[in-house]
Symmetry: D2
Subunit: 247 residues, 4 copies
């Protein structure tokens, strides 16, 4: 049952989604329809009142509607793919650089599970703080070690990581270290917004094989059964994903 202080996803007519903390005096107002949080407290998940439905947020809901963003977000369509593509599993030891807002961190974290270890590096104090707060606010990332440090300065054991993910402007500057700390044969992933960066990265990925470059696109449809059609606008680009395995 929902209780005071819980985070909830409030859905209005399958169209609008809000992440709110339940406070007994709180309320939400969408298109002049009001939902008082006092009516939600004590109800079970899936409670519906008027055009509002109330749920506990999924990991995706938290990332999309709950996390504060100081950086360009990496979308769930990308991170869900990245986590599995990196072959992360229960107990995996994974590094990430940079943490950004923590959107990828918590996805990697979930797939690695409670026995897993995510070492996440962020050189900006501001981003580091924000990511830390994001994860703490929603009780995520229990298996994450968050460092306010450049990846190059990290003291990491050779051949010790099962996978790595890098989301920085010039990932090629870190390739040598990435290669060194990965276990033999294991995958690294990169997200890059521009094709120019792909070119530079590919040129430098000598120590990797099974290279793949791809992008994931998501197209949402309207949910009216009599009028099935895509939404008028869609996200045109988030980033290109590059993967390779240490040789």
């Amino acid at each position: 049952m929902f209780k005071e202080g819980d985070w909830v996803l409030i859905v209005y007519k399958d169209e609008k989604r809000y992440l709110r903390r339940l406070e007994s005096k709180g309320s939400i107002n969408v298109k002049k329809e009001v939902l008082k949080f006092s009516e939600v407290i004590g109800k079970e998940e899936g409670f519906k009142k008027g055009n509002f439905s109330i749920f506990r947020p999924t990991l995706e809901d938290i990332i999309l509607y709950g996390f504060k963003r100081k950086t360009q977000i990496i979308y769930p369509k990308d991170t869900f793919f990245i986590a599995f593509k990196l072959d992360i599993r229960e107990g995996s030891k994974v590094f990430e650089f940079g943490t950004g807002s923590g959107c990828t961190t918590v996805v990697l974290s979930r797939l690695a599970g409670s026995k897993g270890e995510i070492y996440s590096f962020e050189s900006s104090p501001e981003f580091y703080k924000n990511a830390k707060t994001n994860m703490e606010t929603f009780g995520l990332g229990k298996n994450v070690k968050l460092f306010n440090k450049d990846f190059l300065e990290a003291d990491l054991e050779e051949n010790s990581f099962d996978a790595g993910f890098v989301d920085v402007k010039e990932p090629w500057l870190y390739l040598e270290k990435i290669h060194r700390v990965l276990k033999k044969g294991r995958p690294a992933g990169f997200l890059l917004p521009t094709t120019n960066q792909i070119s530079v990265l590919l040129k430098e990925m000598k120590g990797f094989s099974n290279i793949e470059v791809l992008e994931i696109m998501i197209r949402y449809y309207k949910t009216v059964p009599e009028r099935i059609r895509p939404e008028d606008t869609m996200i045109g680009h988030t980033g290109y994903l590059i993967f390779g395995r240490k040789i």
Copy 2:
């Protein structure tokens, strides 16, 4: 170190990928270049010889190149998204119907982890058998209970599942049961190849809210740094994904 009997992914020039079991007398021949498996046995992951690189297969590699298919495959681009979208986590209890070739099963299984439980139903004896073999062959799905049974015939506790995924022709026939066995507020996902099916399903999803309809597209690029461009052909369609949460 690779040893006899291991499954390996053999990559040829970032272009071709093969999943093979290492037998000391075995070999592979790609464009007249031969790799003898006896040369691979005893080497470490990431071993490279000529244009061949050899790795332990990821979950994706196993699904794409190892699983035998008796049914239309559901692609990793879709299943990776589905698993996270359904908010599966360590210890989740999830049902699936139908199992098909087991491609989704093993992805749900991995995210649910060793404490998780996947109940997967397949009414076709042939598909059931094939999925079972697929998982056993690659040592996957330890947390999966596979049933050769129609979902309607399954004896399942009410309000007991954290999530469910359905990949059958007429999922609307199962909505009542899906709704009954899901915990309150929890998500169900559906994969459907045609828009006509989306229409019928949406009409019947009265017991669900926060409905979303979408498709995931993946676009691969060539990996030559001097000539960055998408591949000439791409997969045009696998299926539409529909999600909703029990109210």
Copy 3:
């Protein structure tokens, strides 16, 4: 040389585009940068001042930035394809129903040339008037006969049209007449926003063969050479195109 009263396309930094009529006292103000039209009059096409470039508008510019819209616009990406797909050429006789804002009309008109004939029908007096004004304002559609009339009420000769294009909600109501007035073997095109409509139309297209259903997507890229990447958002959907030929 530009003279008073000319329509011009004003481009600001490759980012913003405006269609304006040159009046000697007029001006435009973009991000605090002002361009007085008195400075443009007397200059040649391609004149550049500060971040502004000034051109005579293309047909696309007129449709996108000049035409008043009372209806959902059909985009150039679609109409450019439609006109050629319908095999329109110099002297073609083409019908269209409904005219809408005239966005398709002027494209069909241009390909048919001065010897061509476009019969365009629009049953709404408001849309009819708007389309008429749109074409007159920009001196387009000299070969267009615009009728404020339902297509069923039009008195048209059998087997007399080289091609036809239909953009109405229920095109299947007009199929018999469309078939009757087309020359044998000639193409008809349809634009429909939803997949439900495609289903109904296809079921009724008995008198047609070589049926094709498709959609055209356009993806714009940023124009910074050091940072080639798609725009953040793109149009997700305008309509599905259906083509067939009379048998």
Copy 4:
């Protein structure tokens, strides 16, 4: 009526399309169903026999199924857009370099009409010959002047062309001349397969404004009304289109 020697498009079940010249002794055999051409001669367009429908080919049919290709084809989805984007109209004077197989040439030619002039340059004797034959075979390009010559060697008047289209590997080598021969303010278009080429071109397009970079994608759907869905595979890439206007 169809007569001996006519080119026809033969459509089999909306699935397969063939361009054939009608010879009284000829025939076509698709999936063991035979159509004798003697049965077609004397019939009208739109004639149907068994699963075959027979039509006069459209410009698109000729390009896709009739033209011999010595070069990478430029697809109708692209050329239809290019022709209108370049604002070509009745009587336009347009240059093109290189001609390739003539697929773009005939599209530009059609929109320019009988009073138009297309100057098309191709430096390879082999491609030049093939393009010439392609156009002659199908009676296309009456307004085309085809030159077996490098564009730089062409003796062309300054400020004399309404538009230009360039499809060569290194279009930046020709920018100065392109700029010189275009009328002030008029558009040039480029097709490039890789993003690396876009970067180089954009850096050199100093003399142009209103730059746009885009790609056109086409997605075909199955035509079964009860099972509306995209085709399994689609073309993933043909080329990027770049447009700019002379300043």
